[in-house]
Symmetry: C2
Subunit: 214 residues, 2 copies
DNA sequence: TAGATTGTTAATCGATTAACAATC
DNA sequence: TAGATTGTTAATCGATTAACAATC
């Protein structure tokens, strides 16, 4: 089974490999990928082993094979339909983002609680009322929801989503959700990301500071 | 020194603690925080130890002390001015996002390469031309840049940023950047986040699939 | 062939978890 | 006092890194 850290590096490999393919290259070595992505060659070989693709000594790995193996391992070879809940600033940006197709992800409907937004078109999608959500999910057998609602309503929104059959949630709301263990959740949290940047910045440029007088 | 995994959990603690403070609570136990966030009490105690705040047996930790210690440890107590580069869908959403103030982060200027966007107002900020960027960074002594430009220009944009004095980059472009080691980088990568969701989803609902015929 | 590169097995490193004494 | 909770030290777990034989 492929580890989560390896899974997290797959998209970076994929982007680079696709670029090489476009440039007409056919083979690439772990050494080369490592240098390009700031990793160690050993780690790249381990990650490549995870894809199931075998390399050739002296030559490296076949780019085309790696690309399809990574896509397959991520499950990005079968298109997935998802709904997006929340048509605010962030939700709107997500609705308009055209890069999801690269992951086999298709946002097929957009919902918002604000009646004033109902009927508006955002990124080719017409905003639907929350009341229509349940029937839509059931009718189209949707199992993934992208959640970009305000933090204070996020929990009730996901509770409802789970009730009506959603099995995976990609959470963009700045809120830690409580969900049953059988529901898959992944969050994209700006605060967490910025916290890491802040901490690294302080370490590099400001040194240790004592935050508690004792 | 506080570990990165601990740093990553700090924003979650902070959100919860602020909520409790608002509800008028003064003390909270590691056991309680753990249950609420789906962590183990031992891990929470380790994390709390990192803040420097000491708890009281039987009572727990003083909420107010934890809040200020976490904020201090993240460096969020001193306001930081940053520029935002790229006023597309995502850049626009980031420019309009008002939650950055919680992290002490203030987007003070917005730049875009598209001449058609110059002069437009996005989230209280007027879009400036890339040509104005260097003088702005130097004049206002900016050290952090939020990058939300298309992937194909991301590397040249950050190269330029580093040249003119930027010391930390929060990268939203779907591209792995090559930067000198003294520059701090953190990325928020939708592809990585979705890759983890996809992998978890497959594991939970589809089981192992062999991606390479052998 | 020589040498670059792969793949595997073992060692290291760091974070999480467990165990338990200290404390209010 | 009794018992819940903290804080520390040790054990475990998992990922990264190192070492090295196999290979084209």
């Amino acid at each position: 089974m492929i580890s989560i850290p390896t899974i997290k590096r797959f998209p970076s490999y994929l982007r680079l490999l696709r670029q090489y393919k476009e440039e007409g290259k056919h083979w690439v070595s772990a050494t080369h990928l490592a240098k390009e992505l700031g990793l160690t060659p050993i780690q790249v070989r381990k990650d490549m082993a995870g894809t199931g693709v075998e390399g050739k000594p002296k030559v490296g790995f076949e780019i085309e094979s790696l690309i399809s193996a990574i896509i397959c391992n991520l499950g990005w070879d079968t298109p997935t339909n998802a709904i997006l809940v929340g048509a605010g600033h962030l939700g709107g940006a997500l609705a308009r983002y055209d890069g999801f197709a690269t992951y086999g992800l298709h946002i097929v409907a957009l919902f918002d609680a604000d009646p004033a937004k109902k009927g508006l078109t955002v990124g080719n999608k017409v905003v639907k009322a929350m009341e229509e959500m349940e029937s839509y999910i059931k009718k189209h057998a949707i199992s993934i929801a992208v959640v970009a609602v305000p933090a204070d309503v996020a929990q009730e929104v996901v509770d409802h989503l789970v009730e009506v059959g959603i099995k995976a949630i990609w959470n963009f709301a700045p809120k830690d959700l409580r969900l049953p263990p059988e529901v898959v959740v992944e969050r994209t949290d700006l605060a967490t990301s910025f916290a890491v940047l802040s901490a690294k910045f302080r370490r590099t440029f400001e040194g240790d500071i004592d935050c508690v007088e004792r």
